[in-house]
Symmetry: D2
Subunit: 425 residues, 4 copies
Amino acid sequence: MTLHATPASAGTLLDRYQSIRRQSFNICAPLQTEDYVAQPVPFVSPPKWHLGHTTWFFENFILAEQMEGYQRFNEALNYCFNSYYQSQGPRILRDKRGNLTRPSLETIKAYREYVDEHMSRFLEQYAQDGLPEDLALLLEVGLQHEQQHQELLVTDIKYILGHNPMHEPYQTDYTAVTSPEPAPLSFTQVKEGIYTIGHQGEGFSWDNEQGAHKTYLHDFAIANRLITNGEYMAFMADGGYEQFGYWLDDGWSWVQEQEVKAPLYWYEQAGNWWHYTMQGLQPVDPNAPVTHINYYEADAFANWKGVRLPTEQEWEAACRLLCQGIPEGANFVESERFHPTAPVNSQDFQMLGNTWEWTSSAYLPYPNYPRFKGALGEYNGKFMVNQMVLRGGSCVTPRSHIRMSYRNFFYPQERWQFTGLRLAK
Amino acid sequence: MTLHATPASAGTLLDRYQSIRRQSFNICAPLQTEDYVAQPVPFVSPPKWHLGHTTWFFENFILAEQMEGYQRFNEALNYCFNSYYQSQGPRILRDKRGNLTRPSLETIKAYREYVDEHMSRFLEQYAQDGLPEDLALLLEVGLQHEQQHQELLVTDIKYILGHNPMHEPYQTDYTAVTSPEPAPLSFTQVKEGIYTIGHQGEGFSWDNEQGAHKTYLHDFAIANRLITNGEYMAFMADGGYEQFGYWLDDGWSWVQEQEVKAPLYWYEQAGNWWHYTMQGLQPVDPNAPVTHINYYEADAFANWKGVRLPTEQEWEAACRLLCQGIPEGANFVESERFHPTAPVNSQDFQMLGNTWEWTSSAYLPYPNYPRFKGALGEYNGKFMVNQMVLRGGSCVTPRSHIRMSYRNFFYPQERWQFTGLRLAK
Amino acid sequence: MTLHATPASAGTLLDRYQSIRRQSFNICAPLQTEDYVAQPVPFVSPPKWHLGHTTWFFENFILAEQMEGYQRFNEALNYCFNSYYQSQGPRILRDKRGNLTRPSLETIKAYREYVDEHMSRFLEQYAQDGLPEDLALLLEVGLQHEQQHQELLVTDIKYILGHNPMHEPYQTDYTAVTSPEPAPLSFTQVKEGIYTIGHQGEGFSWDNEQGAHKTYLHDFAIANRLITNGEYMAFMADGGYEQFGYWLDDGWSWVQEQEVKAPLYWYEQAGNWWHYTMQGLQPVDPNAPVTHINYYEADAFANWKGVRLPTEQEWEAACRLLCQGIPEGANFVESERFHPTAPVNSQDFQMLGNTWEWTSSAYLPYPNYPRFKGALGEYNGKFMVNQMVLRGGSCVTPRSHIRMSYRNFFYPQERWQFTGLRLAK
Amino acid sequence: MTLHATPASAGTLLDRYQSIRRQSFNICAPLQTEDYVAQPVPFVSPPKWHLGHTTWFFENFILAEQMEGYQRFNEALNYCFNSYYQSQGPRILRDKRGNLTRPSLETIKAYREYVDEHMSRFLEQYAQDGLPEDLALLLEVGLQHEQQHQELLVTDIKYILGHNPMHEPYQTDYTAVTSPEPAPLSFTQVKEGIYTIGHQGEGFSWDNEQGAHKTYLHDFAIANRLITNGEYMAFMADGGYEQFGYWLDDGWSWVQEQEVKAPLYWYEQAGNWWHYTMQGLQPVDPNAPVTHINYYEADAFANWKGVRLPTEQEWEAACRLLCQGIPEGANFVESERFHPTAPVNSQDFQMLGNTWEWTSSAYLPYPNYPRFKGALGEYNGKFMVNQMVLRGGSCVTPRSHIRMSYRNFFYPQERWQFTGLRLAK
């Protein structure tokens, strides 16, 4: 296995460690203590739990394993904060995380401080010689993992506040901006041939995107931007949710059983659509990209349009052709908008940031997939069934976390992430 | 309908109002903010919710109806804090109360202060002339209702802390006492004949215990005390949970499906039984009354003993014969033991306080049941099916709340209340 | 325990045995082979299963126990045809009976013949001296048990055919009769005092009705006849199923979850009500008694009327006062109408036959309940929780099976039996 | 859309029609009438239903649409026998098919005769000129559809008889044969490069395998035969079902929740493994291919071996390289063994027949997937999510039904089909 950790001095690493760790707390700053506790549905975790779990990750996989004489903060936390690592012992059932009123937020803060202090001391040992490769990878995984949980923190906070009958905003000092009307939908042709897919350069990557390999793509065309709320409302107005013909069979069952009429967080009032955003209830902006739709909805919309979603290979090949790195002004979590925005100009393809884009590819291993060794082998590989690949990151992804080869994955019915869609044909 | 409200001056009433309202907060004093939020199972409500709901009761049924110019604290709270009053509009689903991170505890405190202040002002109007009868009843119902929720507060807090993997105690400054061995189990004979059952004297009573009426009882005998943990452990050791022959059919299904082996909160460690109490994990005391058993368990124990549970009529007749009022030193919430205790002497029949006693009577209306009028009619009557009657109050019931005629009721599978059993034959 | 078996010569017994056993097949005569197999819901058993189970009862409890050298027809049938006797070994899950395509109907017929032949031989031994008391009871229980299953056969067949989209009739050679308009609803007063309840005379009775005992009844009045479809339609037209105020809380949940609008088997077409009867789809007759309603519906109707249901003690006391034995022309299964009918005259109180009448009494043991010994102890006692008592038998009960003291019991939500209601106040 | 119907004279077509239709009844010949009715689990349909549904297919899509003056046999059957065609009106819920005791088997036989007779008359019109292309396709689809249901008939009959406590065989006149020991497992290398995948030649194909297209395959190797029971028992003996490390996360949940220990139909008795086959309970033959395993089990086995499953593209490319058409003696339904068998010689790669082989490919549309038009568009396309592709046909597939490009698909947890696995690396 070739490691893809960022080569860096221990000093820089410590800075990065501290800055990423701080960011998790920054995200929670607008919360009240009570908001840290609830788990309204099994797939949402309480903010407290995210803060504890990411800390446990460093304690369990680095300090407890490699720092001599390290004493765990509290043995009982292992049970509370192990997420799904079967190899790391018993753990609380996923849907019981909201019952963990203890350890308190104060205790979790003390836990974070304790682990951060030990991590500092531990990393200082390597000030001169740099980290050995294995350790560097572990540390990098811990930081990337924390960034993934930062995105989940935002989407889970949104779920908790957005399903509360008070509909209070997360962000109160927000100034509304008027979205420009986006360019008309057009399609860029991509030529048939052999393309290389998967992570190829320097820098960190997950095991699931490694093993760069050739793939044969037929001629295809990809849309110049994301689908907007306005376009999606046209689908709704045309009976999109009432015509089984647009839907996959499992999708149609979902629509019928859940009586779905619109994306998540949308409410109709007196003929107008509103949605809950991190700024509270707002009128739906027709120019902004649609978000909080699941795979079934994305696929049904594409069928209604008479086209389809891109495969993940098409998406990646197109992204490499159209974008030179991450564009200036892309909408990631650092912009603190916490919502997708309309394109700035006709060269803004919106491929990176804004919304995760559902592809028509199932989440499966690449040829010669080099699964991480040991407990980390549970990180990605064991989820490679029943889920679909999403690409490109969202408005709540950390900018430094995304890559063109990055593969995210969710079950086709899930839609509490900032998910959207781009058409292909 | 004859009203049974306590006749009292408005001044005394205000004192009582304030003292009862304060008590709800006293119960919560040992909690951390996070503990107020969780709802681990649908039948347990978050402490925050109890504090809000009892306040809503006064606001909605008294202030909003009768105080001129009263402005509700916040209209949205109606939706959050209505429990089951169909007549009072839509309300949050029972099993979603744990998602209500907002309103915060601070807001609920402000809500309580706001309502309490308005109640004071409102009651002062009647300083001279006393309350009209209808209003006096409403106020009394509000206070009795708050006392019921105080008991639920304790049992729900116990559930939240007792199902947390940290097993932290509610009461930390507790001194353990050694229980005396109780008197041998003996039975007192009660003569066949006509007995009057139901509330008969002055003072408040619920509608479900009114309509005092004659009932014919055959010769029976009733036990001199509650069944102890020691006696219950003998049942367990004799295969009580493995022999279907002792069990009602629905009870046996419950045992099988839930794989029940012991009362709630009991854990076996190295051959010894421990249980979670409000003082944390403690060894089970063989001399103390068994508690946290449901109707199926109580009935199975009685079958194993070759006897039976008393009917509620037998229980009430026996109680009137054996007890002159509430005995000195009875174990109610004011003793702050929060757990049943062994009898003090052979005259301590333990009929009032310690544990609610399962009777073999289904919860049904008395002849000529005088159901409360209006929204309060939803208080008791609509639950008169599928539940069993319990009598006598528990170690977490307020002493001023109980009566010999008091009818409590729970579903036969429920056991998170302080429930126990007494034998009859 | 006093036995209440019919004293009879073995010859008479054999005649009765054969006649009752034949009747089970007569009931099935109109069926096609396929109709014997299905179990559309767990509480309905396939006709095949009823035929096998009643046979197993005689084989298992009489022949296998008492006939020397008896060889079971096929050991595997024990597993298939044991209903709920935990003491008699493992058995197929209740909701899997519809999967038993084998043993075939032919095999079950052979099984019945085999057991009947052995029963004949076995009973002949006692031709001279008569049966010992224990055996006489067992035989009687087996016959009464078979009669109970004959009633279930009819109601289960009705469920199977009535939920089939073809709506084919069970009885094809039926001549419709016009119902007379019934007498106006009136109430008969019964005087307060001590009444004896429970089986008192000669002849067979179940353990659950034995232990005749005194009970104190207050003044009450009971209706002169059953409630009709016409009266029930008035309740429906007045919004009966939309007003929570009439309903028990568990009942209202049932109405909401199941979206109930009418009794079972009722369909609205072009503003008129039709129902599936054993004669196929028929217009609802306003003069006939309403049937296929559950306890919640019966109780809600009584609330709507401002009155209540009788207790089982009131019902039994009233029945003894009003009826001298079973009236001529009462509508039992022998009338082969398979549906309740309007009263013939003002002296026809309809207390016996037509529909089982929901009482407001929970199914609980009588004082000094003398539970059957051995495996038969599982027959009644273990069901004494969560169910309600019904009285009087129905249009599909064998006439020789009913008594004034007979206690039937079903869960409050069940309504596939021929159940109806009578008011009291 | 290019049609791929078999060009044939109407006479030949009629012969084929009749022969395929007869075969459905031949499969059912060993059944007793009762066996036609049951639906033990929702994914299994009663044999009666298969016979009705395949007939409805011809009536609904051909006769009712194209035969002038055609009268449906019975309008109500539309509701009973429409499977999942939303466009063809309401239909019985999938899990209620076992309640359809009517129409009886006799009626369904009459229905088949009626439709077959009309089909004969209808096809005779085209005796001279041949069928128009559209109609030829429809007819072919109807026949292929009937063949698919013939495979389901066998697997559903196996489920019904194999889950019956009597364990009676389907095939009684069977002579057991001793399996030869198979050749050692070896792997054939396939060279990296561009391969064409999808249906390419003449003859019928489903829409889902059309759109032949280029795909890039990396070097891979594929096993020379299927995995045997003996090899699978080694996996079991090595703790295969107890080690989460071999399993996909969803697979591990399935193992835990269902407490799976072995393939479907396997039972352990005194240390030996038996399984239910169409010949009744038989000892598991270590030399025969393992079958009745689901995707999770196939994938876990491959992980345990340190290799993987082939993708469907690899499977198809390898099949084209290794096999020249369907080999002599391949084990399809015509061999009437109804169970997979050991390879005959080292040139017997077992790719066609024996068991469907799980591939690691999700069931998704090919590039330029040419979905069938109209109601037939519901046939394949709407299922393209959440399922995995299987290749090669099984011992109960009609030989004339299979192709190298044939794509079958099931949910990853399903295992009642004759499914097995082949390794790749």
